[in-house]
């Protein structure tokens, strides 16, 4: 009986997961196709501007629309796209690099975004959570007051502005770190220590700007949770039992504060695939954020939809995983599920 109920729960969750992906993607698809503009027409126009007379531009436009899967009405385009993606795992040709498949552009940018934003998000979360816990725990100390005020200020500064300040200080004034790019072009790409070092060196400043921005955000939210926990009866009981302060902080305070923060982390990791557009632009970092901007500008539907689909799947998968894993982190959730 217990196994069946777990299976029913899993089936329900997975069904809802698939339905939400479909719904979110359908809305995104319709939304992008409602944006006015004609990418193929703009291309034909650019050919005309460079001196070519195109006697029947309409025919050329129609032919390219067909190749890009943009012929027919919106429903036909939608069904054609779903058929391509679900049955053939094919996002269609990109327009920014016709006829290169859209997935090729996405997979070129993906590792850099995941590497930069994924690692930055985790580092920011770990640091923000620990510091937030300490700041909340010692909320009347000078350190706590300074950190709280500092966090309130820094978390409101956009990451690109932090990036500019870091760039100016560490790259242009002190000349300690490179100005932009993902690695040193003088070092051949490959799984070598030299190359890995170069990637870390080049990723330091963009990562630092993202870490500083989100770390202070995590710090503030963790502090608020910790402060609200401080008045709980079980803490008074723990103190009355004579438990050391460090243990109370670790096992009673931080463990309870962790639950909402882990959910938040999972959501943030899901949003990693959206990229950090302005930071990527500033550092010429080859991530998904700048790919998204370029493809939106050109109305390259296939690539834009590919990025959107990936982003939707990642956010929802992260949420699903958290739903499934939460009972392991918090025994209360497991008990509630059983009851």
């Amino acid at each position: 009986m217990k196994k069946i109920s777990v299976l029913v729960y899993l089936a329900k969750r997975l069904g809802l997961y698939a339905f939400t992906i479909w719904g979110a993607f359908t809305i995104a698809f319709m939304f992008f196709h409602l944006v006015p503009g004609d990418p193929i027409g703009a291309y034909v126009r650019s050919m005309e501007q460079r001196g070519r007379q195109i006697p029947d531009a309409q025919v050329l436009v129609e032919n390219y629309r067909k190749m890009m899967g943009l012929d027919g009405n919106l429903l036909q385009q939608y069904l054609h796209y779903l058929d391509n993606v679900i049955l053939h795992f094919n996002l269609g040709p990109s327009f920014i690099g016709f006829p290169t498949p859209a997935e090729k552009h996405i997979f070129l940018a993906l590792p850099w975004t995941v590497g930069l934003l994924g690692i930055s998000t985790i580092i920011a979360w770990v640091l923000g959570f620990i510091l937030g816990g300490i700041v909340g725990w010692r909320r009347d100390s000078l350190f706590s007051r300074v950190m709280t005020n500092l966090s309130l200020i820094v978390s409101q500064i956009p990451p690109y502005f932090i990036a500019l300040a870091l760039l100016f200080t560490f790259s242009y004034t002190l000349v300690w770190l490179p100005r932009r790019g993902a690695f040193d072009a003088a070092i051949p790409k490959g799984f070598t220590w030299e190359f890995i070092k170069s990637v870390i060196r080049y990723g330091t400043l963009p990562a630092l700007s993202l870490v500083l921005f989100s770390m202070f955000g995590w710090l503030i939210s963790t502090r608020s949770i910790v402060v609200s926990i401080l008045g709980e009866d079980y803490l008074i009981y723990a103190r009355a039992k004579g438990l050391p302060e460090g243990r109370i902080l670790r096992s009673y305070v931080l463990r309870n504060a962790m639950l909402p923060q882990v959910t938040g982390l999972a959501m943030s990791l899901g949003f990693v695939l959206n990229g950090a557009l302005l930071v990527e632009m500033l550092f010429n970092y080859p991530g998904l954020g700048s790919l998204f901007r370029d493809t939106i500008g050109l109305l390259d539907y296939n690539t834009v939809q590919g990025i959107m689909l990936m982003s939707i799947v990642t956010v929802l998968t992260a949420t699903l995983l958290i739903d499934l894993l939460l009972p392991l982190v918090d025994p209360r959730v497991a008990r509630e599920s059983k009851s």
Partner: protein
């Protein structure tokens, strides 16, 4: 063997230590790229006085190579090729294509070095001097009735893989284009070319479907039709073939691309055929890469990390700042062929009335636009073409005077109001004019999103002046694709953008506005008449423009008649000449065009920039 249990705390400590060690190792090295001073040995030739024994001893001057140690500044790191041996060109385009050099399909890596370094064309015009340059061909001739064009292909031209370039490549390219309507240039070749013959390796004969005395311009204009290698393309599907790495006849060949850094590297072709013509580029490597934002790029130029910055080519403040930061930076201001102007949808009432367009013409303050709305000082434009030296022959001051259209007298709000009053557009209670049926004079001025070089402030100023005479105008900044669709389908009122006509023979641009080219609103315009201008008196003049050969003595009169019709009908308003300023660093390379002398095209995105690169010498 009893293993020691590792506690969770120890495990976490070990991980933290490992992460710290990796990060520290990554950051421990000096941060490349950096300017470093290094001592190098250079060989110099010095003159030395020596004693030689002849019948009597005498002293003579001889040249003798000596080795000398000097300290030079160079950039270390950041590039896959030595900085001192490379020309580094930045472009604002975000490069995304690193595996396709097919010049006939959309968005291949064409403008990022292929056009300028690899894909040499049959002929060029040096637009800076007006001089014609026969490159892959020695010349061309037409038959008497302009139905046949013969190219004499230059002997000794080779592709960069060593194969000879012949007339058969020309024949193959044109026939390939004709066989696939989706390729760029296909429709032009299908419309005009009946057949191409290559009776021998140096002769290509085009038989045309109708007389066309200007057909050769398809192989001579900027971004003219490229010719591809038959031995490379034969048997390939030209729609999907990526032609990569590219084979071309230009002075450089593709070396490598680094997609993550949006960088292409080109290297010089050994024993390039062009040496026989006296062209011999010196830089061993050329790097084309995407610009960072202007604030970062200006610092790169200041440190000579790059030879050309591209993100602020019309921002006077940053350009001058560039020179302040690095005295080795020179500026090369040059006229874009496209003046900025105002376009009307002539098919839409009341803009379909030429008098309304004239009233609006008097609301444009060209002087203000030139002095303060464009980000680099420029001059008002009276003609819809650039004021290049070669265009002085198209000087029609008498017509401008006759119609009161020259820029020194054209801005006159009172005149505008008088015209509108005469037409019966009366001001309503809200101050906006209405016609006799109550239709308000309300318009939207659209500006393309790329219009960062004056179009937007020009539109705002124009709208403000229109408001003063009772015309309500709203300025809307559109994404390029949205703006283009509105223009092409006729769903717009007024647009503020550029006036890119015909560069080689400017009045030819008027030929586009023949009535038969008009399409109904909603359908895409064909071959130019997107403004939907129609005038039965103008049509025969436009047709004569097309049909009369450029060397026919009658053409001058036709040009003049066409210009007069253009002014009389106030089809559009040229406002200012456009200047782009190219900043170049002379630290590693000298010979760049500058404010004192522009002998070749300094615009890095033009194919003709090849000739600028060929003028460079080691600094």
């Amino acid at each position: 063997m009893a293993g020691k249990n590792v506690s969770r705390r120890e495990f976490l400590r070990a991980i933290a230590l490992g992460v710290f060690a990796v990060c520290a190792a990554g950051c421990a090295q000096p941060a490349p790229p950096q300017v470093v001073k290094e001592t190098v040995e250079v060989e110099k030739v010095v003159k030395e006085t020596v004693e030689v024994e002849k019948a009597v001893k005498e002293t003579v001057e001889v040249e003798k190579p000596v080795k000398e140690t000097v300290v030079v500044e160079t950039i270390k790191g950041g590039l896959p090729v030595p900085r001192a041996e490379s020309v580094i060109i930045n472009e604002t385009t975000v490069y995304r294509i690193f595996d396709s050099a097919n010049p006939f399909t959309p968005n291949a890596m064409i403008s990022s070095g292929w056009d300028q370094l690899i894909g040499a064309r049959l002929m060029y015009v040096n637009w800076a001097s007006g001089e014609s340059v026969n490159f892959l061909v020695e010349g061309y001739t037409y038959n008497k009735d302009y139905t046949q064009l013969t190219f004499k292909v230059r002997k000794g031209v080779t592709w960069n893989d060593g194969e000879p370039f012949t007339a058969k490549d020309i024949k193959f390219t044109i026939e390939m284009l004709q066989s696939n309507e989706n390729l760029g240039w296909s429709s032009t070749m299908t419309q005009w070319v009946d057949s191409v013959d290559a009776p021998d390796d140096t002769t290509a004969v085009f038989k045309l479907k109708a007389a066309n005395p200007r057909f050769h311009w398809n192989f001579k204009q900027a971004w003219s039709c490229p010719i591809v290698a038959e031995h490379e393309w034969k048997g390939k599907d030209p729609m999907t073939y990526k032609a990569f790495p590219p084979i071309g006849t230009g002075p450089y060949k593709f070396k490598q691309a680094i997609p993550e850094l949006r960088m292409y590297v080109f290297e010089k072709v050994d024993n390039w055929w062009g040496k026989s013509l006296g062209y011999d580029p010196i830089p061993p490597y050329v790097v084309w890469q995407t610009s960072p934002p202007p604030e970062a790029e200006i610092a790169d130029l200041a440190d000579n990390f790059i030879d050309h910055a591209h993100s602020y080519t019309s921002d006077a403040k940053l350009l001058r700042q560039s020179q302040k930061l690095n005295p080795e930076v020179v500026l090369a201001p040059w006229r874009d062929p496209c003046p900025r102007g105002i376009w009307f949808n002539c098919g839409k009432y009341p803009l379909s009335r030429k008098e309304v367009r004239w009233a609006m013409f008097h609301c444009v303050d060209k002087k203000k636009a030139a002095d303060s709305l464009y980000p680099w000082p420029t001059v008002p434009a009276d003609y819809p073409w650039a004021d290049w030296g070669g265009n002085e022959v198209y000087d029609y001051k008498d017509i401008l005077q006759k119609y009161g259209a020259s820029s020194d007298v054209s801005f006159d709000l009172k005149k505008a109001a008088d015209i509108l009053d005469k037409l019966g557009f009366k001001k309503g209670g809200d101050g906006i004019r209405v016609d006799d049926k109550g239709q308000k004079m309300e318009f939207t001025i659209i500006v393309p999103q790329v219009g960062v070089t004056g179009e937007y402030p020009i539109a705002l100023d124009f709208a403000e002046n229109l408001g003063k005479v009772g015309i309500k105008a709203t300025v809307k900044w559109n994404e390029m694709t949205v703006w283009d669709e509105a223009l092409q389908t006729g769903n717009f009122d007024i647009s503020s953008h550029w006036w890119c006509g015909n560069w080689q023979e400017p009045p030819q641009a008027f030929a586009e506005w023949q009535s038969y080219r008009i399409k109904p609103v909603g359908q895409r315009a064909t071959a130019g008449n997107w403004i939907r201008f129609s005038n039965k008196d103008f049509d025969p003049i436009a047709k004569a423009l097309e049909d009369t050969a450029p060397d026919d003595p009658k053409i001058k009169d036709i040009y003049k008649q066409a210009f007069e019709m253009f002014i009389d009908n106030m089809i559009s308003i040229p406002i200012i000449q456009t200047t782009f300023v190219m900043p170049f660093s002379t630290h590693y390379w000298k010979g760049w065009p500058d404010e004192t002398k522009i002998a070749t095209v300094p615009f890095t995105w033009w194919p003709e920039f090849m000739f600028t690169l060929m003028n460079l010498k080691k600094a």
